[in-house]
Amino acid sequence: MVGVYQVHKSFGTVQAVRGISFELQPGQIAGLLGPNGAGKTTTIRMIAGFLLPDAGKVLVAGFDTASHPVVARQSLGYLPEHTPLYTEMRVGEYLSYRAKLYRVPSDVRKRAVDWAATRCWLGDVLKRRIGTLSKGYRQRVGLAAALLHNPKVLILDEPTNGLDPSQIRETRQLVRELATDRTMLICSHILPEVERLCHRVLIIAGGQLRADGSPAELTRAGGSRYFLQAREARVGDAERINKLWATLPFVAEVSSKPAGDKPTQSVGWLEWAILARPGSPDLREQIAAAARQQGILLRELRAQAPTLEGVFMDIMDKAGEAMTDPEQATTQVIKPGKEAAS
């Protein structure tokens, strides 16, 4: 339904997107994640037809956005970032204008406007000027305008931006309902929202696709973290304890820092963070046993299951290293499995 194939886009000397490829299927909600300047908005704008790729191609509902732009854009509903609207128009007028622009037949136009306005909780502001509305209401006007023509593909850039908590919940519900027979791509920087809403997550950094899979697959690909506080018996023990954790099976990474905010309560205590390899068993017993054997005093040991946020941060760290060290530029992309497709 949406196909992005080896797409490149540069602005002057800046390479915003460097060879991104993915396909999105109907009934699937995909989330596009990435830090600022990663190439998310450029990618979305190329799908929406606002930008054309320098190389590669983008298909929307089977139509190339470069050779068949009008038909491709007809199949697409798009909520741009910052929700640009004509502030001098009234809400009802604006929705009616957008419906005409998207060629909604005149006999069903009023029904389409009423439906979109009701679904986006705009019934009581239809006669208000857009310029007098709050940010949340404007966001809903933008969302309603994207839905009006019942598009097969919906692209929403930060759809819950400016909404209050109950509206965020209702918008999530709306997105789930709309996704049953549509292809949806949501761009967001709110990781828990993407985790809760999306069947598939695409992570972009440095203009490249760094990860692609269902939230569960991506989370599994990250390792659990263990946080513990232990005391060094004498100066220099920290190094010995570091080595001990690092030599344990399944441990991928070890880091330490002084424990606690109040030095008087934490003299000699250090806090370690141990990152386990993906798919490893619970390491708490192993860590505790090793500490006891080596006479290290533990006062805290807790495990944290892998989270999307953790995986995201790891990918960002690796992307940062790859940007500075080209030898590490190859990234592992987790292809969408059964979970993502369902």
Binding site: S10, F50, V70, Q74, P80, Y86, E88, M89, Y97, L101
Partner: protein, 239 residues
Amino acid sequence: MKGMGVIARRELAAYFRAPAGWLIIALYLLLSGLVFSVYVLRPNSPASMRDFFTVSGWLLMPVVPAMAMRLFSDEIRAGTLEALLTAPVSTGAVVMGKFTGAMGFLTCMLLPTLVYVGTMYRVSNSPPDPGPIICGYVCLYLIGGAYLAIGTLASSLTANSTLAFMVTLFTILGLLFAAAPADDAPAPVRSVLYSISIVPRIGDFAKGVIDSANAAYFLGITFFCLLGATLALDQRRWG
């Protein structure tokens, strides 16, 4: 050109939603009304609206850039261009829609001046010749259209509407007075300067003559500027 009419209607309505639109019409009618009542409507003078059309042609010089400056600049600045260029409408239809909407506003501005024509017919002993009057309005449209197209192109190039206004105004001034240094220029340059200058053509129009070369000149400017605006907007898609 599907979608052009929808964009044109929104554009025309947008002029009347802002005080600036009403102000432009009011100022134009005030000045053209003054010209009509002081210079045209004189006792014992021939029933001719020539002075009205000449002054109206000059008045278009500051008025039309003011009408055109916000056409795309405001959309670029506010980000609404993204919503417009991702709608299922070709870039050419977007430009033509905007231009047609602005021409509609020009019509709304010129329409009340028919009152002057009616007054002429009412107060003149011998009714005025309709030929030069029709010709005068056609010429105002041709000049207004060309100025608007220049303004549309300038507006499509920048997010700053004041800059678009200035560029349009100076381009029009350049075209108006291109013939001024012509007499001192060598022969080939002189003929080029005369051919691109607007002033001699306005003189022809005021006489009630629609020369096909003059009409082609204004229509040519309109066509190439609108084409330029379409290309400028398409260029934005390429980044």
